[in-house]
């Protein structure tokens, strides 16, 4: 079976997975206590007439299976519905996507590039001072909770040193356009991306180090060295390619975790991305937005897995699919 057929088969298989995700998410969300009306009136005195009217207005007075059926039909027609508070869900999600992708992209780039470099360095000089420092830092980095790290980054770089902005995605007081605006946004993204990247970075370092250490003892490396190739050529030209398989798998899986991390990071840094949307929707029990966010996450994870598997074939010619 060719690669294209394999991809087509995987996409077909992904459809029932995503559909099942919709149903499960729907049931989970509706089994959690509270609904949008409760959130609107919680802690306030309220008239029963108002509650009844609002439940009707939002279709919450219908039986659950009817609500589910209506929702499924709507999604299959490509309509994600409207947020409890009026805006079309697709519009809400879409306006957040670029900012979250930027943040996740930057975080992933920092984690993978820096992680592979540090991990390789560490593996090539096992037990050296550099190795010890890198390993200790990666253990620390992995143990630090994201929300705490975020606060510290703001305190140090925004409040004390004043080097980087600590909130939001752009300077609101200055009217910036074009390139200046882009630089401003990137500047704002740096701290949240660092916060989001640190855990991943630590993991990539550890993974690269152990994977490289395995590969470096293989015969073909000894052959390469005996041919008189330099350190850099051996490490990056020969060893890294084979050592990178677990890193690719890991990165694919981590996309899902990055989205989770984005909820915390975006909340602390007031970054208006998907994570914040999810957080707000959860607080408000905004069912249509929540369901769409989970749907979106399910699709991202499914696609990421598919891309990972395809990358495998490209990196390692020995891997063949469907045979």
């Amino acid at each position: 079976m060719g690669l294209l057929a394999y991809i087509a088969k995987r996409i077909l298989l992904a459809v029932p997975v995503v559909l099942a995700a919709i149903v499960v998410n729907f049931l989970i969300i509706h089994s959690v206590p509270g609904d949008p009306i409760v959130m609107i009136v919680a802690g306030y005195e309220t008239d029963p007439e108002y509650v009844a009217l609002m439940r009707k207005e939002f279709g919450l007075d219908r039986p659950l299976h009817e609500q589910l059926l209506a929702y499924m039909i709507q999604v299959l027609q490509g309509n994600l519905g409207r947020s409890t508070f009026g805006k079309p869900v697709l519009e809400l999600v879409w306006e957040r996507v670029p900012l979250t992708l930027l943040l996740m992209g930057m975080a992933l780039a920092i984690a993978v590039i820096l992680g592979i470099l540090l991990g390789t360095l560490s593996a090539s000089r096992v037990n050296s001072v550099a190795d010890t420092v890198v390993t200790s830092l990666s253990v620390t980095g992995y143990s630090v909770p994201v929300f705490w790290l975020a606060q510290i980054l703001v305190l140090v770089f925004a409040v004390q040193l004043g080097w980087l902005p600590g909130y939001g995605y752009s300077s609101l007081k200055a009217d910036l356009t074009g390139l200046a605006h882009l630089i401003d946004v990137l500047n704002h993204a740096l701290l949240p991306a660092m916060a989001l990247a640190l855990n991943q970075l630590a993991l990539v370092v550890r993974l690269t180090r152990s994977s490289m250490m395995n590969v470096l003892t293989e015969n073909y490396i000894i052959t390469a060295r005996s041919k008189g190739l330099g350190d850099r050529s051996v490490l990056f030209g020969h060893a890294l390619k084979n050592a990178s398989l677990p890193i690719v798998t890991f990165t694919g899986v981590q996309l899902g975790y990055l989205l989770t991390g984005a909820v915390l990071t975006e909340t602390v840094f007031a970054w208006p991305g998907l994570g914040r949307l999810l957080y707000d929707a959860l607080l408000w029990r905004d069912y249509p937005v929540l369901l769409s966010m989970f749907l979106f996450a399910a699709i991202i994870v499914t696609v990421a897995n598919l891309v990972t598997d395809v990358l495998y074939a490209i990196l390692d010619p020995r891997i063949r699919y469907g045979e």
């Binding site: 509270g34 306030y44 309220t46 409207r82 010890t132 909340t267 007031a270 707000d280």
Partner: protein
Amino acid sequence: MVGLSQDPSTLNPAITSMFAEHQVAGQIFNAMMEYECFTIVPVPELAQSWQASPDGLTYTFNLVRNATWHDGVKFTSADIKFTFEEVLPKYHPRGPGTFGANIKSVETPDEYTAVFKLKGSFAPLISMMGLWYAGVIPKHIYEGTDIVKNPRNMDNPIGTGPFLFKEWVRGSHIRLVRNPNYWMKDRPYLDEVIFRIIPDDLQRVRALETGDVDYIPMMVPYSEISRLAKKPGLKYVNHAAFGAMYQLQFNLLNPILSKVKVRHGIAHAIDKKFIVDTVTFGLENIATGPLCSTIGWAYNPDVPKYEFDKKRAEALFDEAGYPKKEGGTRFSIRIVIPRWTTDDVRAAEVIRDQLKDVGIDAQLIVLESAVDNEQTYMKHDFDIHIEPRLSTGPDPNQIRYLYHSENIRLKNPTPGMWNIPIYNNSRVDQLFDQGARETDMTKRAAIYKELQRIIVGDLPVLTIKELSNPHIFKENVVGVPAGPYGGARERLHKVWLMTASATTTVGVTTPTTVRVTTPTTTVAAPDTFSQTIVPVVAVIVIIAAVWLIYKKRERQSSAK
């Protein structure tokens, strides 16, 4: 630049009673009345003057004549009729009880006169006409549409207020600009107001420190205040929040708590002063009864007092038939509290411990607010419910929801406030009914004062403290509304920014009406920076050292 905790769920002030919503919508819309921010007395806004008929059944309002909606359409009495007949009675969370049940019709003899005909005398009407309860929305935009889902609620809302809507980048900011045609002469002063949405309480404070934000009107963590108050360039104002109180609601269906002596004993066992001094850093007032002291005209300080007295408490429990059993316990109860803020939960922890001191095995159950609502209001499953920030104003009629027996909804429960203590006292019901009908303010005050005496005696609810609402702003921000009704609830049309040159010429730095309370000095200011950075460095150093020693040993042993 104003720091806001969350995106508003709507910008239509006529269908919501929430904070972030009104904070922004309040700049775009007007109401019939505004409140004077210290006395909470209604002052004219869209209604420039009004007369009530002697029987209290007819109110005639004379409306402002030069107001226009932001799209240029003239504001008239038709908008008032539409808002009070079609919108508020149906779609405002408190509309059916406040307006629907009381207003028979709104007549509009001419463009600038609105005559309200009531079903029966209803004295709280005027004080319920502020923006919080009755924002006025345009008939020409909303008529014939789905009011709740109208896209104008979220984009380009059209109001009569001091600022025009410019843009809303969800999750980031809302930008409003000066309304050049505002009906109030020479207002507003500011060219632009930006609400920056920063959900994390501490980060919002940091944004003020870094200069990204000029003013935080609410939700400043108490623990940050003593530190911020010392910072040069910042100013801070504290006052009791508008009627909100921290209170313990007893479930009177519980056989133990149904005994008044037990409830009195619990009141004696709780040291309110300790809670206020430690948990809230002395920034809040001790509560005495069901009404907040900020509602001055109706507040009654002369109610039964339950001084902190453990011996008295223990004696009352003994008398009620709950002596200490083996192990020192008298009885067990469950205290349920929603997690709004950490401070709320901390106060509940202190209460639990103080009850344990007198032999009550109290279990604290902290729930997310929606779950709490389900458990207490829908399932009515609790012994004591703590409602940490329940509003008791602007009119004392507000607390009717909690104490009048008509609001016992055991059979048909609703989320949101109702009489969950299951308190039933016919005299109290009678007084609430009289208070709502009586138009003479002196007589009304007397009615509510008697009510407070009776309720504190019966004690279905024990109030602990009156919430504070500290706001912090930069020194050059002048005219910040700073009374109990200030902060989130008042308009920014009187606010202006002082420039460096203005400082020397004007020389005004303190608005004379601002009451500044300094935080108690007993509590050391937490220096967050050193508190967090020092442990980090220490941890890193220790880990590195342990690692190095381990490696050294390993190398030595392998060398051997």
